[in-house]
Subunit: 347 residues, 2 copies
DNA sequence: TACACCAAGTTATACGAATAACTGATCGAA
DNA sequence: TTCGATCAGTTATTCGTATAACTTGGTGTA
């Protein structure tokens, strides 16, 4: 149902009149900080009137007096659309609501003009801060208008290092993924990456570095013939896995830097009549909700901590301390399923 | 970077002082409706001062005077989280922004208390209306506070029929899906549904009714042995497809009421060494972004019009006419891929 | 008896922008 | 010359809330 257009509801003055007191009394009673100095009788009359009239405070009047609104701006390039990262907005909203704040959300789809315009509107609403979220982990330039506003870059890093950022710890993730395979007893561990190192993509670079570090710590030489760089997606995952598994000295385990690549590897293994994990162990990355749990066998992978990152970003906005422009990296937890076991030669 | 806390920026008075005019002049020049009556010189001085000071209008003051805010409330049970329907929020936001409005968004996760509280906060911000979105198509009860507010139920229907609703046209979708198979020449068309009819789930009931209507119009008797009701998901899809395809008189085509069920059917076909679409044609429903395009062969399916529905819901809120409590059903477009062809016996 | 002090309120004002109503000055026409 | 119209602005008020500062009547106490 819809009400007639500008029926803006009862105000404090209406409540005051109904309760037979002044508007100030109503205000003081409701924001009961110092409301205790009124008689029980008066307080009751005020509260009754509030209920009877269905009074609801006008947030705009309040903000006008107090300067800051109970809202946080959320700008995402595509974050609500990608199946992937809807969780990021969920985490942000959860945390915001714990402090009674709402999210003023916009998806720009990468449109810089829309971005600037909506940021402008947000600022004119005096948001308490702005979360600037990216669909995937990269280094980006923040809009100029963010300077001088409390803001946090989410799932990416400010190229200039001026705005604090929250992002997944790709290095640690790659390290943990590789370690999981090494601990299972594998010594020939391949990697299928999602991008070249030249791309500078933190996800690709970080996960690869973690892979190398883990091998190194285990006293193994990184064998370049076991590593493939290219594009994400199951088509390339298939192609690279085929190459690796049909080589003269194939790996017994593969770390795929994303789940879709892992899916391609599953198809390759299937075509080669190799069983996962008996013949090849696979570890993925991303824990893609619509994919990883449904593969047979379930894919052991690492989760991008979207909810936690969303929460943390809002937390940085809410905290009193002046933030520095540091990047905060968050752990990617292991999601254990059934795609990893010992190599065949092992007991 | 973050500014010191309550630095609320320059006001119109500051601009007026800087330009050597009165506050009213600034207001009139900026909202240039009747601003033309000022001299070019004055207008230039005002605009220069605005730029120099970085003035941005205070939206709250504006709303306070004008009564309605440039925001639309968006309440979803899980809509931003489900990979499925993030598009719904995208469509709503797109349409809202075309009128310069922002979305005040909350995901309740089904928590009625959070729902009530956030709705309350939204109303205190004088939103122009509220979109109440559900994760899946069902009949639901809207919160009481929505009465007397301009509101629309999205991707579901108000059980009481008082709030206007926007939902996918399941019946038409089921009809079109079945027709697609009939037109290809199939006469034994099976269906794997996502729920029992007793569930009353509009998606299950509607798609089944569409299936029946299409058969009827084609002069075919609905053969109950070709239909399975149960739960969605690939596990049940697999099981039911197995049953259908190994029966004495198997269907040559199956309409799976969702894509995950279709995935299960793919696996069953694969296990039975049946080729899709040569041996069995499959039509899905939902066009699940992370699944349908990646199946081999690509799954021919129907798209839930999330973006269009989101847009339409906001449009209903923005329109001047008093809305009736009608349900508006929107078409599910066919997404043609490669899982349908003629039955074997045909030329 | 005079004074301080408290309880239980009220009055007045500010927040920032929009706008109706007003003021002076200038110009044209009767 | 005088009235009217037009131009180029200004003044004053309003929206709804929060709060500092004030009022008023009653108590306690020295």
């Amino acid at each position: 149902m819809a009400g007639s257009r500008p029926k803006s509801g009862p105000t404090m003055h209406d409540v005051a009149a109904a309760a037979g007191v002044s508007q100030a009394t109503v205000s003081l009673v409701l924001n009961s900080a110092s409301g205790s100095r009124f008689s029980e009788d008066t307080r009751k009359r005020v509260r009754d009137a509030v209920n009877r009239l269905g009074y609801r405070t006008n947030a705009h009047a309040k903000v006008l007096r107090e300067g800051v609104a109970g809202m946080i701006g959320f700008i995402g390039d595509s974050v609500a659309t990608t199946p992937f990262a809807g969780a990021i907005i969920e985490g942000a909203q959860q945390r915001a609501w714990e402090d009674g704040l709402l999210l003023l959300a916009v998806n720009t789809g990468g449109d810089k003009e829309l971005e600037a315009a909506s940021l402008d509107t947000m600022l004119s609403y005096k948001v308490a801060g702005v979360v600037y979220a990216a669909m995937y982990h990269r280094r980006l330039e923040v809009p100029e208008a963010l300077e001088g506003v409390r803001s946090v870059v989410l799932n990416s890093q400010d190229r200039e290092g001026r705005v604090p950022s929250v992002a997944p710890d790709e290095g640690k993730g790659g390290y943990a993924a590789t370690s999981r395979l090494l601990e299972a007893g594998h010594t020939r561990v391949g990697m299928i990456n999602i991008e070249t190192l030249e791309s500078g993509l933190p996800a690709a670079v970080g996960r690869y570095e973690g892979y190398c570090t883990a091998l190194e710590e285990a006293g193994l030489d990184a064998d370049p013939s076991l590593v493939r760089f290219g594009q994400g997606g199951e088509v390339h995952g298939y192609k690279y896995a085929m190459e690796l598994l049909t080589s003269s000295n194939p790996p017994t385990a593969i770390f795929c830097a994303n789940d879709r690549g892992a899916w391609g590897a599953y198809q390759a293994a299937s075509d080669l009549r190799l069983s996962i994990p008996r013949d090849v162990s696979i570890v993925g990355f991303d824990n893609q909700a619509t994919l990883a749990p449904f593969l047979r066998p379930g894919l052991t992978t690492f989760e991008l901590p979207f909810v936690a990152m969303g929460r943390r970003a809002v937390e940085l906005i809410l905290q009193d301390a002046e933030p520095d422009g540091r990047v905060e990296l968050m752990d990617c937890p292991l999601i254990e399923r059934n795609s990893v076991t010992h190599p065949k030669e092992m007991p």
